[in-house]
Symmetry: C2
Subunit: 229 residues, 2 copies
């Protein structure tokens, strides 16, 4: 995770405004990428994440920050987009109800579309296979498969371009992510991870995401700057 | 393309309201699939396609028809979503300017998300590799690659489900598509292919899409029912 002196090209960075994606953006900046942050508003509960994403993109000097609207709530199937499903306040086994069908496929497809327009060849995504082992689309084999698809799916790919999907956090624990992010200058007080944060971005402290985040700060030995309700 | 007597399960069918996707829906119905039609409004010029999609879904007895909004216009890069780029009125060589970056990746990702919610294992898309040979994401290798991705990307895939992406028109000429569609009961007067149709769905007769469609009817020896401006 050492900073590079010069720009190594453009990267589209998926930025939700949470802890992981903010750290991924800081990583991309440290690599020397000229960063284009993309936030996808897919009908999730936590609208305050969108405001967090804008703050983080600015603080970490993203070249540009765009918010794209996709109405995933219309298809339901997830506690994150379907308000009729309760969110768990206990650790879940297996794939959590907060799983959003095909979410990372969709997010990467949007990032790929923007990358092709920008002539960027790098996508950066803050997926994490350890703390979120329940999500199928956070695994290395999914990331590699998407890279293959990107080559076949695009005009740039047909013309010989090779898209790279960087998932720098994929094998880190939450504590490692936090320690790395602190070293890269991330101000975690800006980020919102909670699935049901209030309008001011204050966290519930109860949901799966809050629990993992709190445990991460404890394990890292770093004071948790999260603003709880 | 012979009809099956019994339902062979649910299929999500991508339906733009144009000639190809309407034929693909008729094919899926004839196969015995319980069809869920999905229209994605991605900021394209031809809003009248959306009205056509609703008419076709109803006429071909889709179980349900949903329209999802995705703001692809925000990223530009295509004459279909970026109004500042002129549409060609001459046949183009290579990849046409009407190419929408990563479009089919995005459309299939949305179809996959809905399929997972519906517990459908079949996606149907009216891509065609012959008349649209300029589009990289209309090729068989792209379709196969997406099937692999779908298995890795989803909760259902992890649990053993195998998603199938059907592209029944992929190796047909436009004339073959039209002859097949007529046999399957498609009323092409309902469909809109034109890139710049007017509000009533009347075609310009000049754009690439109009030209291919008109040539298709001529080659099929079938009277063109398209309503021109």
């Amino acid at each position: 995770m050492s900073p590079a002196a010069d720009s190594v090209g453009r990267a589209v960075v998926l930025l939700s405004g949470g802890l992981d994606s903010s750290t991924a953006l800081a990583w991309a900046r440290a690599q020397g990428f000229d960063c284009y942050a993309l936030t996808v508003a897919y009908g999730q509960r936590h609208q305050s994440e969108l405001a967090a994403a804008a703050r983080v993109a600015h603080a970490l000097s993203a070249h540009e920050h765009r918010v794209m609207q996709v109405d995933l709530a219309g298809i339901g199937g997830s506690a994150l987009t379907d308000w009729s499903l309760p969110l768990p306040d206990q650790p879940s086994s297996g794939i959590p109800v907060s799983y959003v069908p095909a979410r990372n496929t969709l997010l990467l497809a949007l990032a790929l579309a923007w990358a092709e327009v920008l002539e960027a060849r790098n996508l950066v995504v803050g997926v994490n296979a350890i703390d979120y082992s329940g999500y199928p689309d956070c695994r290395p084999e999914f990331i590699r498969s998407f890279e293959q698809l990107a080559r076949l799916a695009t005009k740039a790919g047909v013309e010989g371009a090779c898209f790279r999907v960087h998932a720098p956090l994929i094998s880190m624990s939450k504590a490692q992510i936090i320690r790395n992010g602190i070293g890269l200058g991330v101000d975690y007080a800006m980020t919102v991870s909670c699935y049901q944060a209030d309008a001011a971005g204050q966290a519930c402290g109860q949901c799966d995401s809050c629990r993992l985040r709190r445990q991460g700060f404890e394990a890292a030995g770093i004071t948790d700057p999260t603003r709880y309700q």
